[in-house]
Symmetry: C2
Subunit: 554 residues, 2 copies
C-alpha cells in the first residue's frame, strides 16, 4: 500500500522566515488570481506596503510611446486621488532615478533628497521611501514606492515587484485583447444592423452615430463630394439636432485633405495644423480639438449580370471629432475605415437602385406624355393623374411599396391609347358612337400591352379598371363596388378630377371646389366614397396642383 502525506499550510514552513515568506507568496497568488488590472494593482501595492510596515505608497506605469510615467495608484492617509492619471517625464525626480536601476532604491531621509518633489499636500508627511522598478524582460515598465517604511525586506519587495510586473503585463494584454474584442463585436453587430436596413439616409445616420460612440468621440460627420458645385458638403452628422448646411472647398480642411489624398489623417490638435478649416467652427458650433478623418472609397460594385458596373472612386469622407479620452489611435482608424466602407457600399447600392427607378419612372412618364400629346388637350394628363393618385393613396395610408406601384400604374393608365387611331384621339368635337366604342377599348388595350410584364401585375388594374364605375355602369367590364381594385378606384377619381379641372376644347376648366362637390355627389354611383374623401383631404392639405395651378405663374 502507498503511504500518503497530508500536510497543512503551516506544516509546510521550515522556519520563521520561510514561513513568513510562504504566507506572503500565498497572498500574492490570491491577488494574482484577479484578472482585473485595477484591483490587482491596488491589492499588490497594499501587500508591499504591509510587508515593509509602511503607511503609504504609489504605483506608476510606463507609457513607452510618450516616454512618460502615469500615476496609477496612490495609497495612504490623506492621499490625493486627483493625481491619478497625471503623467511625469521618465527622467525626473526619484521615480526617474528608480527607472534607471534594476534594484530597489532606499532613501532614508526623503525631505533632504534634492530629487524629491512634493507634488501633493500630503507629501509633507512622507519621511522615507523604498522605490523599486517593475522590471520585465530587460526593461522597467513602472515604479512602485513604499513610504514611511519601518523595515526594508528588500528581497521580498524585489520578488513581489517582479511578480507584479509579470501580472501587470498579462492583465494589460488581456484587457487590451478583451477591449478590442468588445469593439469588434460591436462593429459586427453594427454591420448586421446596417445590412438589414438599406434606407440610405437612415443607414448613414446610424453609421456616423456608431462611429462617434465606438471611437469615444464627441461628434462624427459624413461628407460627400458635390460634383456639380465642385465642393464637399456635410451630408450626415451624428448630432441629434439639426445641423446647418456646411460646405468646404475641395482640398480644404483636414477632411478635404483626406478626401483629396485618400489618406487616413490623425490630428491631435487641429489648431496646430495649418490644414484646419477654421471657418467651419462658427457654423457647426463645435470647438474641435482632436480629429481623425478617413476617405469614403467605393470599390467595384456589380449587381446582377454585369448591370451597373462602376470603379474605385473617392466619393467623400468621414471624420470623428474630439476623442473623450486620450487621442485617436490606429485601432480607431481601422474601425472608422470599416464603417466608411459600409457607408460607401450603402451609398453606391442606393445610387444604383435609385437610378434604376428614376430611369424607369422618367421613361414611362416621357412615353405617357408622348401619348397624351396626341390629344393636345390632355397635355401632362398622365403625370398629373399619377401625382393625384399618390396623394389619394397617401391619405389612405397605403404603405410605401403600394404607393410606388400606384404611381407607376397611374402613369401608365392611358397607355392603351397607343392602339386608338389618331383621328379619334385628336378629334376636337364629339365622337360618333362607333368612335366612342373604339375609344372605350383603351383600358383593355393598355392592359393587353402590359400583361406580359411579370412585375407590373399589381399595377395592371390601374390600366384596366380606371373607367369602371362603383355602381357597375362603367366600362369595359361593368365591374361594381369592391370588384373594382383599389388602384382602379383611386385612378378613376384622379382621372376625372384632372379632366374636369383642365381646359377642354368644348369647355373651360371647372373650379376645383365645384368639381369636388360634383364628385362627392357621385360617390356610390361613379366614385368610391373613400377615394373622393381622400382626394378632398389631399386637396385641403395643399397636395393637389391642377393643370390651372401649374399654368398660372405664382
Amino acid at each position: 500500500m502507498a503511504k500518503e502525506s497530508k500536510l497543512t499550510s503551516t506544516a509546510l514552513a521550515t522556519d520563521d522566515e520561510t514561513s513568513h515568506l510562504y504566507r506572503i507568496l500565498t497572498r500574492a497568488n490570491q491577488i494574482a488570481s484577479n484578472t482585473e488590472l485595477d484591483d490587482l494593482l491596488d491589492q499588490m501595492l497594499d501587500l508591499i506596503i504591509e510587508v515593509c510596515g509602511g503607511n503609504a505608497g504609489t504605483l506608476y506605469l510606463l507609457d513607452a510611446e510618450r516616454d512618460e510615467l502615469e500615476f496609477k495608484v496612490i495609497r495612504g492617509p490623506n492621499s490625493d486621488q486627483s493625481l491619478i492619471g497625471k503623467r511625469i517625464k521618465t527622467d525626473l525626480g526619484i521615480v526617474g532615478a528608480t527607472m534607471k536601476q534594476t534594484q530597489p532604491l532606499v532613501i532614508e531621509n526623503l525631505p533632504d533628497d534634492p530629487r524629491w518633489q512634493k507634488i501633493a499636500n500630503s507629501s509633507k508627511d512622507l519621511r522615507n521611501v523604498i522605490s523599486t522598478p517593475l522590471y520585465l524582460r530587460g526593461g522597467p515598465i513602472g515604479v512602485v514606492q513604499v513610504f514611511n517604511y519601518s523595515h526594508t525586506p528588500l528581497h521580498i519587495v524585489q520578488m513581489l515587484s517582479a511578480r507584479m510586473a509579470s501580472e501587470i503585463e498579462k492583465a494589460v494584454l488581456l484587457e487590451a485583447s478583451q477591449g478590442r474584442n468588445a469593439r469588434l463585436e460591436a462593429l459586427i453587430d453594427i454591420i448586421g444592423i446596417i445590412g438589414s436596413n438599406l434606407d440610405r439616409d437612415r443607414v448613414l445616420q446610424l453609421i456616423v452615430r456608431y462611429a462617434r460612440d465606438l471611437l469615444h468621440a464627441e461628434h462624427a460627420s459624413l461628407f460627400l463630394i458635390d460634383e456639380e458645385r465642385d465642393d464637399i458638403v456635410l451630408h450626415v452628422s451624428s448630432s441629434e439636432t439639426k445641423v446647418p448646411e456646411l460646405r468646404v472647398p475641395r482640398g480644404k480642411g483636414i477632411i478635404g485633405h483626406a478626401i483629396e489624398s485618400g489618406d487616413i489623417l490623425f490630428v491631435p490638435n487641429v489648431h496646430e495644423d495649418e490644414r484646419h478649416f477654421a471657418q467651419a467652427e462658427p457654423i457647426t458650433g463645435i470647438a474641435t480639438t482632436s480629429l481623425i478623418a478617413v476617405p469614403l472609397v467605393t470599390r467595384t460594385v456589380q449587381l446582377g449580370q454585369g448591370l451597373g458596373a462602376s470603379h474605385t472612386k473617392i466619393i467623400g469622407g468621414i471624420e470623428a471629432i474630439n476623442r473623450k479620452d486620450g487621442t485617436f489611435t490606429r485601432e480607431d482608424a481601422e474601425l472608422l475605415l470599416t464603417l466608411a466602407t459600409q457607408a460607401a457600399t450603402v451609398l453606391q447600392i442606393a445610387k444604383l437602385y435609385e437610378e434604376a427607378n428614376e430611369l424607369f419612372l422618367d421613361t414611362i412618364q416621357a412615353m405617357a406624355a408622348s401619348i397624351d400629346a396626341k390629344d393636345p388637350y390632355t397635355n401632362g394628363h398622365s403625370r398629373r393623374v399619377s401625382e393625384f393618385s399618390v396623394a389619394i393613396g397617401r391619405q389612405m395610408n397605403l404603405p410605401p411599396e403600394e404607393l410606388h406601384q400606384l404611381r407607376i400604374g397611374a402613369l401608365l393608365h392611358d397607355i392603351g391609347k397607343i392602339g386608338i387611331p389618331d383621328h379619334i384621339l385628336g378629334k376636337p368635337g364629339r365622337l360618333t358612337e362607333e368612335e366612342s366604342n373604339k375609344m372605350k377599348e383603351h383600358p383593355t388595350i393598355g392592359a393587353d400591352i402590359m400583361k406580359n410584364v411579370r412585375l407590373l401585375r399589381e399595377e395592371l388594374p390601374a390600366l384596366a379598371e380606371h373607367h369602371e364605375h362603383i355602381d357597375g355602369t362603367g366600362y369595359p367590364n361593368g365591374l361594381r363596388g369592391e370588384q373594382i381594385s383599389l388602384f382602379g378606384r383611386i385612378v378613376a377619381a384622379a382621372d376625372v378630377f384632372d379632366a374636369l379641372t383642365s381646359d377642354r376644347p368644348y369647355r373651360r376648366a371647372l373650379d376645383v371646389e365645384e368639381v369636388l362637390h360634383r364628385m362627392q355627389r357621385e360617390c356610390g354611383a361613379h366614385f368610391d366614397e373613400a377615394c373622393v374623401r381622400a382626394l378632398i383631404q389631399a386637396y385641403l392639405a395643399g397636395e393637389i396642383k391642377t393643370q390651372m395651378d401649374r399654368q398660372t405663374p405664382k
Copy 2:
C-alpha cells in the same frame, strides 16, 4: 543626504533554504513571463520535476464541460508523446483521486497501487509519484505529477502548483481572447470584401468559402427555398469543383429543419440524428459527420425613399459540414449567422435591383412592341433590333454597362413612331414624298420624347441616329463617319438587317447570307464596316436569330 542600499540577488537570501526558495521563485517568475500557454506548461513542469529530483512528469487540464481531463504535457525518458490530447474521465485512477483533494498526494510505491493504470510502455519504469491538484479559487483545474522523485519538498510543489494554476488561467483567457480577435478580424475583412463586390453569385461563393475556412469545416453550402417547386435547392457550394443539382424536400434534413424552424442546429454526428437526409450523401459525395445549420433571414430592406420595402422572411439556410478539429461551437454559430446575414442582404439587394431592371426592360419592350404593332409587318422588330445590337456590341467587346445601354437604346430606337400618323405607319404600299418626309421625322421625335430623361442620355443616339449613313447621305442630320455615335452605327446595321431578313408587304424576307453580302458591299457608304463585321461574326457564332428563324418550328 540619503543612503542608498544596493543589493545583489544572492545577498537577498538569509539562509540556505530561503536562498533555494528565492532561486526557484525567480525561475518561476521568468517562466511566467511567457504568455504562450504551451511553453509555459512545458517549463513549469520541468521546474517542478527538477525541484523534486524526479525524472518524469505529466500535466492534465480539466475540460469541465465534458468532465474529462486532457493530457497536455508528458516529460521523461521514452515518454509517449502520442498520449497528448488523450482524455480520461475525472473520477478514474490516481489522477482522479488527486482531483478530490486540495493537497499533494504522495505515492511511494506506484506499481502496488490498485488505482495505477499503466497506459504507456514507459509506465513500467515509474516507481513513485507526487500527484498535485492545480487549485484555483475553490476548484481544481488540472493535475500535475512528478515521477521517480528523490525528495518531497511539498511546500514548494504546492506553491508552484498554485502559481501554475493562476498562470494557466490567464494564458487560457488570453489565448481564447486573442483567438476570438483573430476570427472577428477575419470576419470584418470578409465583410469588407463582400461589401465591395456585389456580383451576387460571386459574393455568395465567397461567403460559403469564408464560412468553411473560418469554421475549420470541410464544406459549406448555401440553400435557397424554391417557392415554385416548394423545395430547397443547393444554390452555392464551397467546393472548387462542380456540384450536381441537389434538392431537398421542405422540412427535410438538418438544413430543412433549420430553415423551417429558424433555429440554429448543431449536430455532432448526423448518423445519430433522425432528421439527417441521408439521400443527399450519394449525390454530393460528402460523408457528413458533424454539421451546423443556420437560417438565412432577410430583414426589412428599404432602398431609396420607401421603394421596394420588404419584410422579415426565411429565404434559405447555410450549413457547414465536418469540423476539422473538435465539434462546432456557439462561436462558430455566431460567425456563421453573421455571414448568413450578409448573404441574405446581398440576395435581397440583388433581387430588388434585378427586379427594377427587369421591370424597366420588360415595360419598354412591351411599349415598343405596341408601337411596332401599329404596322403589322414590323411585329417584334424593336426586340430583334435590340438583341442584334447587343450581339454586335458583344463582338466589339463593349463593357457590360455599355451593352446594357445599347440594349435599352435599341429597344427604344423606333419609339418616335408614336408621333407618326397611323395612316402612314400602316400604309401597305409605297409612301408619297410628303408621307415619307413625315416618316423620316421619327428619329427626331423619338429623341425629343426621351430628351428629358436624364439617365437615358447615353442611349439617345440610338434613337436619333439610326437612319444616318456613314457617307453622310442619311437622315435627319446627314451626319457622316464618326460624327455618328457608335450606338447609332450599331443600331443602323441591326435595323436594316432585321428589315431585310423579315417579310414585308411588298416582298418576302431575303436570305441571311445574301443580306450580309449586300450589307458588306454597303460598308463605308451606308454602314460602318466594323459593325457589319461584328454582325457577321455574331451570325457565324450562332447568336443571330432572324424573324424567319423564330417563325419556323425547330
